[in-house]
């Protein structure tokens, strides 16, 4: 079980029943003296940028920095992307925008909930036999609080285009053009589930995160299978909608034809299909449309077919992915189909050996190309105001290829390292070429800002927070002999439990009056417990390395003061270099070891202490502020447009305007 799978468990949307944002036109029209172009490059690391510049690999970065400025950029606590980008969007810290982690918890049942989006089923329904018909609309709500900076720009009639901003699904209400990014689900309502069809029984594994593996058979040079789709909310038993398909294989040549719905296409072995439309029928007259990619991995001796997660079709979005409602359709008309799911790179497929490194890169390069074409398109009509464009490839490549940077990484493989050891540097070089590519759009009045939300560090050792809490007596199990069984706190004895770990950096106290079965009294008992836990966590030493896994245990009441503090974890763990929460702990599991090696391909990460993995700020103007952070960039935007910085925002402007 991976992070993704556990997200899926908690994030079932009622597809097709969501309401779209109203169809309104009339965006900001003001002619601004300065234009602001911001490239958000997720996870771009300042140390690596410096290292590659020294090596001479990033000439355009180098020139830009020499003309303007370069700085590390203070990240959020914790430095997870949804949190960090929400800081930038609102100019506030997590206690102001309410996003503290990828996952929050429901204090009434201790189960994880998705922090960014809430989907609600229609409240009124009627049942007719095995059918269920909704009488009202379902809802998909953005949980991020506070105004987005482009909503404030809109109030001042300043045009902006916000493309693929994380922590903005469904997109914040605006008449300006915006397309949602990280947080946008696939058609299953999940973070992305691929399907893999194989005749090789050794590959069948029912328990993988982010994907499903199906056993198929070749009979008479044909394969018949079906593609799972979203849950059908119109049926009482809520089955998954499915779409049957057929694959015809030539008896001799490595070539096959796939027939699925209205689509019919021929692939040779090792070929990708590009985007194909699929339509899942729900009830007569109502279906859900999506797009996906097919990859014919092998025909013989084994038949192996990969189908990417089914993305929301941007030409017919079944869920709200953009503003105004027809923006994605406009993009399709000019650019063809493109990915819509947040974080499209299929890291699960790579982690589970369904795609190899080369195949993973091929697919992600395609996504990157789609984004660059979209950026080009928007730059061509960028005449005033602000354009923000986000890219995820920098982050995803570092997650998956960090293992080749360090021979001591538990997932290091010398043969693969020879082939793919350059991939992290390559994505930095691709970003360098991006600077060259956009240069022709930069006139004197254009301020270019390149920013990242956090840096990167290796993920070598995983910390089982819940195991540690169990071993130290803060967390009690009803039957300790099943310690390493079960998940989601199945065997927890809440009547004796004082603390639990949930999310990727969070530790919560089982507080009376807040948690449904809380036992810790608010006031001094709580204060003492939090202080005691923070001290003990910071004192832990990894017997294998002699290092402290937790660099800093932030007591949230001490670092945050905003209105949404009551939703925060009580302690946020800031891990040391090389450490991270383990794979199992966020799932409410209790593996036997407190510290374990990470042998996954997912080998780089960014859940450390904010001080250790800052992001980056590069601009074509001088940076005048000595230690800028994400919220300062937000303040800078208002300053560049000559607007008052809103009172609730903490930041100060960092760029010299003239």
């Amino acid at each position: 079980m991976k992070r993704r799978q556990f997200l899926e468990l908690t994030f079932l949307t009622s597809l097709t029943l969501a309401s779209n944002p109203p169809f309104i036109y009339g965006r900001g029209k003001r002619e601004t003296p300065l234009k602001v172009l911001i490239l958000g490059l997720d996870g771009l690391d300042p140390n690596l940028v410096s290292r590659f510049i020294k090596k001479g690999s990033l000439p355009h970065f180098q020139r830009l920095i020499s003309q303007g400025g370069f700085s590390v950029l203070g990240t959020s606590i914790p430095p997870q992307s949804p949190v960090a980008w929400a800081n930038f969007i609102t100019g506030m810290d997590p206690s102001g925008h309410g996003i503290f982690d990828f996952m929050h918890r429901d204090p009434s049942n201790y189960l994880p909930v998705f922090s960014g989006t809430l989907s609600e089923e229609p409240k009124k329904k009627i049942s007719l036999g095995e059918w269920v018909l909704p009488l009202s609309r379902g809802q998909i709500k953005l949980l991020r609080q506070g105004k987005a900076f482009w909503q404030i720009l809109e109030e001042h009639d300043i045009p902006s285009v916000i493309s693929r901003m994380p922590s903005n699904y469904p997109p914040a209400q605006t008449k300006q053009r915006s397309l949602s990014g990280m947080g946008t689900p696939d058609i299953m309502g999940s973070y992305g589930i691929f399907n893999y069809y194989t005749t090789e029984s050794g590959e069948i594994n029912p328990d993988i995160g982010g994907g499903r593996i199906h056993q198929v058979y070749v009979i008479g040079h044909q394969v018949e299978a079906s593609l799972p789709g979203p849950v059908n909310p119109f049926r009482r038993d809520r089955p998954e909608a499915t779409l049957d398909f057929k694959v015809y294989l030539d008896p001799v040549y490595p070539v096959a034809k796939i027939v699925i719905g209205h689509e019919e296409f021929i692939l040779k072995e090792k070929e990708w299909s590009g985007w194909r439309r699929v339509e899942f029928p729900l009830i007569p007259g109502k279906s859900v449309r999506g797009i996906c990619q097919f990859y014919l991995k092998e025909i013989r001796p084994h038949f192996k077919l990969y189908i990417s997660p089914v993305h929301i079709d941007p030409a017919n979005p079944v869920l709200p992915i953009c503003t105004p409602a027809d923006y994605s359709r406009e993009l399709v008309a000019h650019l063809g189909l493109f990915h819509t799911k947040g974080l499209p790179a299929d890291t699960s497929a790579l982690d589970n050996n369904v795609l190899n490194e080369a195949e993973f890169l091929h697919q992600d390069n395609g996504f990157l190309e789609e984004n660059l074409a979209m950026l080009d398109f928007e730059l061509q009509r960028f005449h005033s105001g602000l354009l923000f464009f986000y890219l995820s490839s920098t982050d995803q490549r570092q997650h998956m290829f960090w293992r080749f940077l360090d021979e001591n990484h538990p997932a290091y493989d010398s043969q693969l390292a020879r082939q793919f050891g350059q991939e992290i540097e390559n994505i930095y070089i691709q970003m360098d070429q991006l600077i060259a590519r956009i240069e022709k759009y930069l006139d004197k009045k254009t301020v270019l800002i390149i920013m990242s939300d956090h840096g990167f560090n290796p993920f070598i050792r995983g910390f089982n927070l819940n195991t540690w809490l169990f071993e130290t007596g803060y967390h009690k199990l009803r039957n300790p002999w099943v310690q390493d069984k079960g998940s989601l706190f199945e065997y927890t004895d809440w009547s004796r439990t004082k603390a639990y770990g949930l999310g990727l950096n969070g530790l919560y106290i089982n507080l009376k009056g807040r948690e449904s079965q809380g036992i810790v009294n608010p006031g001094s008992e709580y204060e003492h417990l939090v202080r005691e836990l923070a001290n003990r966590l910071e004192a832990i030493v990894d017997p294998l390395t002699g290092k402290k896994p937790i660099y800093k245990a932030y007591i949230t009441r001490e670092i945050y003061k905003g209105p949404y503090l009551n939703q925060a974890p009580d302690i946020i763990l800031g891990f040391n270099w090389g450490y991270r929460i383990s794979w199992s702990s966020p799932l409410g599991k209790f593996p036997s070891e407190v510290l374990e090696f990470n042998r996954q391909k997912w080998s780089g990460d960014h859940m450390g202490a904010a001080e250790l993995i800052p992001g980056i700020l590069i601009a074509n103007r001088k940076i005048v502020h000595p230690a800028p952070s994400l919220t300062d960039v937000t303040a800078t935007i208002f300053d560049l447009f000559g607007l008052q910085i809103p009172l609730e925002m903490k930041g100060r402007p960092v760029l010299k305007i003239s």
């Binding site: 040079h221 015809y248 030539d250 096959a256 296409f265 021929i266 040779k268």
Partner: protein, 274 residues
């Protein structure tokens, strides 16, 4: 059959020649107008206008009767009987011209389909070319190849699908224009027309059929194949939809509406009773 097809094809080629560089709507409005006119003419010649007029008048009269004497059960029952009788008579009068129209109209429709139902494949795009074999032909022993030309590239080896009696290739369009696809089997060459182009409107022939009455009626774009093993050669052109204020509609719907409107407008000046 071939003669009729050739004649109709030439007729439409000449008719549509001036419209080629405009939106297909222009040609469609034009041909719908001609069709409406033609239908009225057939109607006038092959129906008994006098009898239709009588039948329609009687229907009107009995409808009036029905309304005036609605509280008199006997009269209204009689009127209903009369109404049914005259409706039947009217229908029989109309039937003859309708039957006569069906034959030329179905020829015309299958030809118009070549013009309005598909779009040529733009350069850079990929499509499937299929050969369908007749029942009983053994696919494994059927040695056939398709050659690339300057207009397109054959990207895959032949994919033989026994269950569908088909051989498929994937081709990639390279250059706009009209090309001949050469298929070789047993040292024999057969060809199929292919048209590549972006945003152009022209006659396309997705299917080259084997000879046969129905097959040729439905696929009149090319001369039928004389070879006896192949049932048809098919190119999967993308289908065309006409843009009607943002609504994508099939040409047949537009065509029928436009023809009927023409008929309704012109029936009075042309003194046709319908």
């Amino acid at each position: 059959m071939s003669i009729v097809n050739l004649w109709l094809k030439t007729f439409l080629d000449i008719l549509f020649f001036p419209c080629r560089s405009f939106s297909p709507w222009i040609a469609l409005i034009f041909i719908s107008f001609l069709t409406g006119l033609f239908l009225l003419a057939v109607y006038k010649v092959f129906s008994n206008q006098q009898k239709i007029k009588i039948a329609k008048n009687r229907i009107k009269a009995h409808l009036l009767e029905l309304r005036l004497f609605s509280d008199d059960l006997v009269i209204s029952l009689q009127a209903q009987g009369q109404l049914f009788f005259w409706n039947l008579k009217y229908f029989l009068q109309v039937l003859r011209p309708l039957v006569i129209m069906v034959i030329p109209l179905s020829f015309l429709l299958s030809h118009l389909n070549l013009w309005f139902a598909w779009e040529p494949m733009p350069p850079g795009e990929r499509m499937i070319v299929k050969i369908k074999l007749k029942e009983g032909v053994n696919l494994q022993n059927f040695n056939i190849s398709l050659e690339s030309t300057e207009g397109y590239e054959v990207e895959t080896p032949p994919l033989r699908i026994e269950a569908e009696k088909e051989i498929n290739w994937r081709i990639k369009a390279l250059k706009s224009g009209k090309f001949e696809m050469p298929f070789w089997f047993d040292n024999q060459k057969i060809t199929k027309e292919i048209i590549i182009g972006s945003n152009s409107w022209q006659r396309l022939s997705p299917v080259r059929p084997a000879s046969g009455l129905i097959r040729e009626l439905l696929n009149p774009g090319e001369r039928p194949l004389s070879d006896s093993l192949i049932e048809e050669i098919v190119i999967s052109y993308p289908s065309r939809r006409l843009n009607f204020f943002g609504l994508k509609i099939h040409w047949l719907i537009a065509y029928f509406f436009l023809s009927i409107i023409t008929g309704l407008i012109l029936k009075r000046p042309l003194k046709v009773e319908i």
